[in-house]
Amino acid sequence: MSMSPVPDDFEQLRRLLALKKHEQPPPGYFHGFSRHVIVRIKAGEVGEEAQASFLSFDVGPFFQRIWATLDARPVLAGAFGVAVCGFFVVGALLSENGAVTEISSVPQRLSPHAPGHAAVVWEPKANESSSLVGVVPNAQPKISLFDEIGTPQVSGTWQASPQSVNFKPVQFSFPQ
């Protein structure tokens, strides 16, 4: 039995493919190849650091990171949920108490025609020439712009009269 190998049908083709071995890049190409790779690696690291520092101030990635953290840790997500619920409950309770306090503490708003409303009267008396007599400016809260708009205006200029204003005289005495 002959042990000679089967003749290769691709001998000519393999010779032709030998031509590919002679295709070479430009002279000196490989001298700078590794340097380019290292430079690009360094540039990539610097770029990633810069990008990371930039993204740390960005809102989108900030929430994405929080979401990713919560997604990865269910216990933390549960605790966060409880904290948020607690925040809302406490907020609701505080707002209720605050509303009651506000109603009880704030005096009823007076109309401009009501006695005692903001008016400053300078009324010196004849027998008290050395003392200043005045009226304490009313400490009522100011009327809001909306109230003013809603207030019916009296024709002409409204002036406070001594009869309509319940003022309280205060005496200032100066050392002689």
Binding site: L13, R14, L19, E23, S34
Partner: protein
């Protein structure tokens, strides 16, 4: 871009060839360099790149037939390998691992580049004119006697580009770069039988495409 007048390069002398053969890296050295590179030592990685750059570039170039694409892909393969070093377990040699990265990157690139192939061939070196295989091929026995090396180079690359990526890769690794079936099987992550069958089919295809230039 096809270069019709390839420049001839000065061949390596015998001393340089012997030196290049004897400076093959030992596996131990390679693992030391890999360990250092994994810790961020760029000098060690630079050494690794220098060892394998020519083979990686050649493989990518023969797959793409384009120097610029090969340059980018080879560099990107080494960059990707550096960033993926932590995942390198040492189950195979670093050389095989980088090869696999480069090959996968190239195949992905070629799939995206589909039908937009543009050749930018490297020049033939000085040895090409004196290669006995090529001399025999373009002798008066060749059907196309008027053919020159540049034309042959172009036709060969066009034929290579007609092959599918896996078939082109097998021909490149085996017939151009001289890797064994076993090495190719490791790189392509398939069995040796698949490598052999792909090689046979690819050669048949090439022979049909280049019948005018073969006896």
């Amino acid at each position: 871009m096809i270069m019709t007048e390839p420049a001839r390069r000065k061949p390596l002398n015998e001393e340089e060839r012997v030196e290049s053969r004897t400076t093959q890296p030992s596996p131990v050295d390679e693992m030391v360099l890999v360990r250092k590179a994994r810790q961020g030592d760029l000098e060690a990685y630079d050494e690794l790149v220098k060892r394998y750059q020519e083979r990686i570039y050649a493989t990518v170039y023969h797959m793409t037939s384009n120097h610029e694409d090969a340059n980018d892909l080879a560099q990107e393969a080494f960059i990707k390998a550096f960033h993926a070093l932590k995942s390198f377990k040492g189950g195979s040699s670093f050389y095989t691992w980088v090869y696999r990265i480069a090959v996968n990157k190239t195949i992905n690139f070629l799939k995206q580049r589909k039908n937009k192939a543009q050749m930018s061939l490297d020049d033939l070196d000085f040895n090409a004119e004196h290669d006995p295989d090529l001399v025999a091929l373009i002798s008066d026995k060749t059907p196309r006697r008027e053919v020159n090396l540049a034309e042959l180079q172009e036709k060969l690359n066009v034929a290579m580009q007609k092959l599918s990526e896996p078939h082109r890769l097998v021909v490149t690794l085996h017939d151009v770069q001289g890797l064994s079936h076993e090495e190719i099987a490791k790189i392509m992550e398939c069995n040796i039988g698949t490598v052999r069958s792909r090689l046979f089919y690819a050669r048949q295809q090439l022979q049909a495409y280049l019948s005018d230039y073969l006896k």
